[in-house]
Amino acid sequence: MTAITDALVIMKRQLLQLVRVPEVLIFSTIQPVMFVLLFRYVFGGSISSGQPGGYVQLLMPGIFVQTVAFTLAGTAVGLAADMQKGLIDRFRSLPISRGAVVFGRTLGDAALNVVVLGVMGFAGFVVGWRPSSGFVHIVFGFLFLLVFGFAMSWIGVIIGLSVREERVAQNLVFISVFPLTFLSNAFAPTTGMPKALQYFAEWNPVSTMVAACRELFGLKNEFGATAGSFPSSHPLVMSLIYMVLIMAVFMPISIRKYIKAANK
């Protein structure tokens, strides 16, 4: 029980930071909104979507997934900064449950995603995004995105606790996640890629997530299915498997890492 309240106190700290330094929230929403506008108006004309409502219908799920995938950046950088400043040491010297700090952090980042997704959804709506699946499915779609962000966040915990400096965390995340989000069906059809990359894109969790979201928001998936493989024909199931896998693997490692973090 105290484990949960401890985690909530840590999470509250993060939300309080947003109140005290509102710039953080502003900038973490500006970037995705900028992406929505850029992709919508720069590439929107040249990528044929074959969907009613145009490219923006396909684009929005892609940008949503990219944004929540980058949740791990916030987690990693935040934890690396806490480590560097000694805050983690203080937390570890307190009589709190061992997982509280990392759980609080990942929950806080998930909470931030609620706001970011809300703002992006609104921006999307303004530039023509119209999900057609009905209220329940749309809510499911957003829940799905939040859980994916939460799962990715746990990878961020390990990165944040492993590096010596926050800048290293930032670069590490950038060079690993950026290719992952582009080697997918998020922004353009995979059919134009070299064969080997197509297979990679097919199994890329980002692709299955994007495909699953498109389904949940009422679109037919035309970008994925290059080989009719399992992930492209069952994106929702495959995404769930990925999320469970990520959490099952990274949660225990992360908590272990936290407990040992400063033991060096």
Partner: protein
């Protein structure tokens, strides 16, 4: 009763190539302050981190408040406070936010945590700045808040790791005042410092450590005695050096030393102020007017020098490990030389 016991702590890094602690043992009597004194890299922080349950030693035992640090770390965490160079607060939040958060993490309920935060801000003269983010605080205020955060549940044992490193003289004085108050309140404190003056001022007992071992311990006076008693020191004009030397030699009865650069003659004396008066009189009779004359008790610097054979440098610049940084510094040094 001993509140803190460390026995034969060993901690190595980089697969044993660096021995941070090399069989360190120390004890702190309940209600007293132990000053752990040593230069950078002597093992001070490692010791604190082990006692505060943040780090496991390779071997050795430690207990705090009678509780085994290795066997029941979570019990130890309930009775300790940690503050200093490596324990920190959230700089984006206000002082008040931080104290309430830490109060909640010590499992106070919301109201109790708020009340305690008010109380601590008041106690540390931070009431007015409590609503400001910590990044706007001065160094001294920040350290005081950091200390306040470690006192939320009135710990039995407090670890202060270099509490005044990096503070200006005023900030240091304020911090000393605060720590003094705590001592009067009866809390047991283990304090690390590289400032000899600080250990002298705050600690009941001092443990001098170097290369991961305690090399001497005792009260400040005991340590000074260990180095030797008082010295008579006289500074005169150059032409009087020899005459003065004869006078000092007669009064002291032991070997004198002359420092021509400093124009100083000095020698150990055992008769204290009597020797001083005798010397003043003899100089006066000889028509020599000393520029300075006095008795000097050994400082803790002298203690350190005589114990370790090297000076405890307060601002020892560490050798950079990054080769690029090394090259940069060499370049800069060359540039400086040309000018």
């Amino acid at each position: 009763m001993k509140s803190v016991i460390a026995e034969n702590l060993v901690k190595t890094y980089n697969k044993g190539s660096v021995r941070a602690l090399d069989g360190l043992s120390l004890e702190v009597e309940e209600g007293t302050v132990l000053g752990v004194l040593g230069p950078n890299g002597a093992g001070k922080t490692t010791t604190v981190r082990i006692l505060a349950t943040l780090l496991n030693p390779d071997s050795g035992h430690a207990s705090v408040g009678g509780i085994d640090v290795l066997k029941s770390p979570s019990e130890v965490r309930k009775i300790i406070g940690l503050s200093g160079q490596y324990a920190a607060v959230d700089e984006t939040l206000t002082g008040w936010d931080n104290l309430v958060m830490f109060g909640r993490l010590y499992h106070l309920n919301a109201n109790a945590a708020k009340a305690r935060a008010e109380e601590l801000l008041e106690q540390f003269s931070l009431s007015e700045s409590g609503k400001r983010p910590i990044r706007t605080y001065s160094g001294g205020m920040r350290r005081r808040l950091d200390l306040a955060a470690s006192l939320i549940v009135k710990p039995k044992v407090l670890f202060l790791d270099e509490p005044t490193t990096g503070l200006d003289p005023r900030g240091r004085q304020e911090m000393w005042g605060v720590i003094d108050e705590l001592v009067k309140g009866g809390v047991t404190i283990l304090l690390t410092t590289q400032y000899l003056e600080e250990a002298d001022q705050l600690a009941d007992e001092i443990a001098v450590i170097d290369h991961g071992k305690v090399i001497a311990r005792g009260t400040s006076d005991q340590l000074k005695l260990q180095v030797g008693g008082e010295r008579l020191e006289i500074i005169v004009e150059n032409q009087h050096l020899n005459a003065t030397n004869e006078i000092v030699a007669r009064i002291s009865g032991s070997a004198t030393s002359i420092d021509e650069g400093m124009r100083q003659v000095s020698a150990p004396v055992t008769t204290g102020s009597k020797a001083l008066i005798e010397a003043a009189r003899a100089l006066d009779e000889a028509g020599i007017h000393p520029l300075d004359i006095g008795l000097k008790r050994p400082s803790l610097d002298d203690v350190f020098l005589s114990l370790t054979g090297h000076v405890a440098e307060e601002k020892k610049e560490e050798e950079p490990t990054d080769p690029r940084e090394k090259r940069r510094r060499i370049k800069e040094a060359k540039k400086g030389a040309k000018k």
